[in-house]
Amino acid sequence: MIISTTWLSEYVSLPESTAALVERLLLSGLNHESTRRVGEDTAVEIEVTSNRPDCLGHIGVAREVAVLFDRPLRVPDPRPREADESAADAITVEIVAPEVCPHYTARVIRGVKVGPSPRWLVDRLATVGVASVNNVVDVTNYVMLECGQPLHAFDMAAIRGGRIVVRQAIPGELFTAINHKDYALAAGMGVIADAVGPVALAGVMGGAGSEISAATSDVLLESAQFAPLAVRAAARGLVLASPSSYRFERGPDPAAVDYASRRAAALIEELAGGRVLRGAVTAGQLAAGGATIVLRHARVGEVLGIEVSAERQREILSGLGFEAQAADATTSRWRSPSWRRDCWREIDLVEEIARIEGYDRVPENVPIATRTVPESPRGRTLRRCSEVLVAQGLCEAMTRSVVGQPLEETASPWSAAPPLVCQPPLVRGADRLRRTLLPSLLEARAGNLAVGADTPDLFETARAYLARPAGTPAATPIEEPLLAAFVIGGAFARGKGLLEAVLVRLGLAPSSAAATFRPVTLDLFAPGRAAEVVLVAGSSAGERIGVVGEVAADVLERFGLKGPVVAAELRLDRLEAWADVERKLERPSDFPAIDRDVNLVVGETVPWGDVAAAIRTGAGALLEDCRLEQVWTDADRLGAGKKSFVVALRLRSAAGTLSGAEAKQAVDRVVEECGRRCGATLRA
């Protein structure tokens, strides 16, 4: 909303400094956008929140100024001179769709002389950025910008059949607007029709066929109430927002329907001549505002934390147009003005008092009672995970939650259900809620390499969104697993090592056997080069909580990446319980350790995991550490189909110094157990 200070000063005397004016308005609810000189005038652009349509006209802003600076408000009271001829004889008005238009009024002015507007009118409109058209159209714009009620003037000669019908648009109905563009209308939009067809799009824009021209002699002046939803449907649906639709979407002052009609008729007669026919032709019921509200004066202090005297409270409300109906020592009863439909409860009056009294009075140093807050398991899990990955040189990425089909066609490790789809797309082509973060990170890696950024090892912690499996009740919430994912250069072992480090930091030691790695087949990963992490709790079969693997060649190619690239994803939401587990010290033994290397030969297909488990069983409590030093194959020395694990064992007792004999017994048990379970033999 742009305000002309010259225009505004017609209703209230303004403070000398425009800067002081805008500062005060800014602190009472009308945000300042800009101030600039226009000729002799000053244009002040203010931001009006959607609950204050009363400030979409100069009088409304003047009322604020009057209260803020304690000055009288002068509002014109137009009384057009009316001819004997009755408007009702010239036009009939019918509302077929009250849901679109609760109330409609029409006035008729005959014998106008359409021509240029006087200087003062042209100048005021120019200050607020409205181009002058002619004296009749300028008056309708002027009155709208004065009191906030949009008006429309029709050339009476173009209204066929002498009747106005307000109805819903017929789907597909064509309408040529005043901007000379054609629109196909839809149900839910309102039209003003004559005996033949639409002449205006209700509350949005007039029609080209009935616009005021130099040839116009008789004018039909429309002032009406249009329903916000119907106006919004038309303005949005046709991408045809106008100053009129902007105001109707917010709901102008119901009392201004009649006021604006009288004001415009009087001004047209004054500036363009002609005779104003007697009365206005009306249809429907005016939906009037106004609520009765009881204010407990003590409530103001209870909400604001400052004392405002009851007398001052009453003074502010009266100044804003609230009508005092009754009062006693502690309460007062008020009727809210028609233009303040946002005020209908006690708390609304408290806010009015607060913004006029000024929030600068509210203190900013009252004591706040302290309370202690522990870190949440989720916060701790996220922090620990991020600590490990950052320490290892990874940068945290943030990618979009909603992705396009090319990223979504990679299957998710977490759900086989198709992705959820949103409308509109988040960005062009991206309308699928992602079920894994990995494709987004692959894309981010490719983007980095394309701009020549080196070592773009990235991780992200974010949610995925999993549709309800078929057959689950509709009330089941959408599952949103919290994931941590990373994509880095390197082979499987690098990814697995990093993933294990995260698991350890979250409290899942690899030897705890709670989390085990198993081969997995997923189309994101190269065949035979990926694992899932399974969390075994109690006797359950185990749940997949992570995946790690080398990215498949065709996937790399799709993203324009060169391998090897390893990727992993972890369900952090399943690991929060572990982050909470308290640690207890295991005191290191003071006795010396004995190191023994064993060289175990097994069949080529035997996984290390099986051998490691056998070693742990065999060595029992004496085993402090078991490290795989080397894996090698040599058909000549080991035999075909065989491989060798060179393992360094560290044995130690908490109870005393181990003897060589005890160490040998332990190693013998290891060899025996590995032989029994994995067919291993000791290589001398």
Binding site: V366, T370, V390, C395, A397, C422, N448, T455, E480
Partner: protein, 337 residues
């Protein structure tokens, strides 16, 4: 001068030098001894050398021989002492000295995203003020995203063009990506009774066209306090503590009236930063209708809520002119924070 007297001088010179160098304990003492006995300008050996000229011509070869022997002996004694004191080893080590300006072995550290850093910082400050973290879903229903927040069906904020609605089966309750983190407040208030101090944070979604200051996905931090006797003065004081801790120093807060459906009174709050008022976010007293919707008595409990756009304050703090940079994931950007 007689040759015997000359030789006697050399003997006493050697004895004195031997005694002195034998008791030297540090390099300063060694240097002092060197100057006294072997100094090129006024050392004692130099003085004896001058006496050489006073010998008879026939005695000169023998005198020179004795002189050289004494000189070599004392020089050797000096070297021995030098070695004993470790000066020699240090000299040898000096020969293997490194160029200390050469680069160290590189260590590549990773970086936490600046948005996460900003969120964590606000979270930590709020934790010190007793606000615990609350979490809620990003895919929300109409009740939590709108109705409980006093946003009725005809409100423009519910327009399909202004939200990311999910395609769901006909007849099912519409779901959408949450447009604000206030949804979490409702969920917490539904589940618990006051006193409450929570901070919720995370991704929110609004269909804005991406430009330098808008992105259809962004982060909000939102605080809620519901306790008996809460006033706007408490709100302003909490925001001032947040501002002072976040920006450093004693920062002031300013309220400007505004409008949000779920708070009344509603304000925008500004913080004074670099001599200017900077818009930080929206706030207000929890609307009585919202308290009633979750089953609280608005006359018994009152509360405040506030929200901050994380991208906006992070952009200002780090001098990021285009918020789309936060989502480009260029490591050359990420490594600067």
């Amino acid at each position: 001068m007689a040759i015997e007297a000359f030789i006697a001088e050399l003997v006493s010179f050697r004895a004195a030098a031997e005694a002195a160098l034998g008791v030297v304990v540090d390099s300063a003492g060694l240097e002092q001894a060197r100057v006294e006995f072997l100094g090129a300008r006024s050392g004692r050996l130099k003085d004896i050398q001058k006496l050489l000229g006073g010998l008879a011509t026939a005695d000169k070869p023998a005198g020179g021989r004795h002189f050289n022997e004494a000189k070599a002996a004392v020089t050797s004694l000096f070297a021995t002492a030098h070695e004993r004191l470790g000066c020699g080893r240090r000299a040898a080590a000096d020969a293997r000295a490194i160029d200390v300006t050469l680069p160290g072995d590189p260590v590549r550290l990773g970086h936490v995203h600046p948005i996460t850093q900003t969120i964590r910082q606000v979270q930590e400050i709020m934790a010190r003020l007793g606000f615990e973290i609350a979490d809620g879903p990003e895919v929300e229903d109409q009740w939590h995203n709108f109705e409980a927040l006093a946003i009725p069906a005809e409100h423009p904020a519910r327009d399909p063009l202004d939200n990311f609605y999910l395609a769901v089966a006909r007849g099912a309750d519409p779901l959408l990506l949450r447009s604000q983190t206030s949804t979490v407040q409702i969920r917490v208030m539904e589940a618990r009774r006051p006193p409450l101090r929570i901070v919720s944070l995370g991704r929110v979604y609004r269909p804005d066209t991406a430009d330098a200051t808008h992105y259809p996905m962004f982060h909000q931090v939102e605080g809620l306090l519901v306790e008996r006797g809460t006033t706007m003065a408490h709100l302003k004081s909490v925001l001032r503590q947040l501002a002072s801790s976040f920006l450093g120093g004693d920062v002031h807060v300013r309220f400007r009236p505004s409008f949000f459906p779920f708070t009344e009174p509603s304000v925008e709050f500004d913080m004074e930063w670099g001599g200017r008022w900077i818009e930080m976010g929206g706030a207000g007293m929890v609307d009585p209708a919202v308290l009633a919707a979750v089953g609280y008595d608005p006359d018994e409990f009152s509360g405040f809520a506030f929200g901050l756009g994380v991208e906006r304050i992070a952009a200002r703090r780090y001098g990021v002119a285009d918020i789309r940079d936060f989502y480009r994931n260029d490591v050359r950007f990420l490594r600067q924070f």
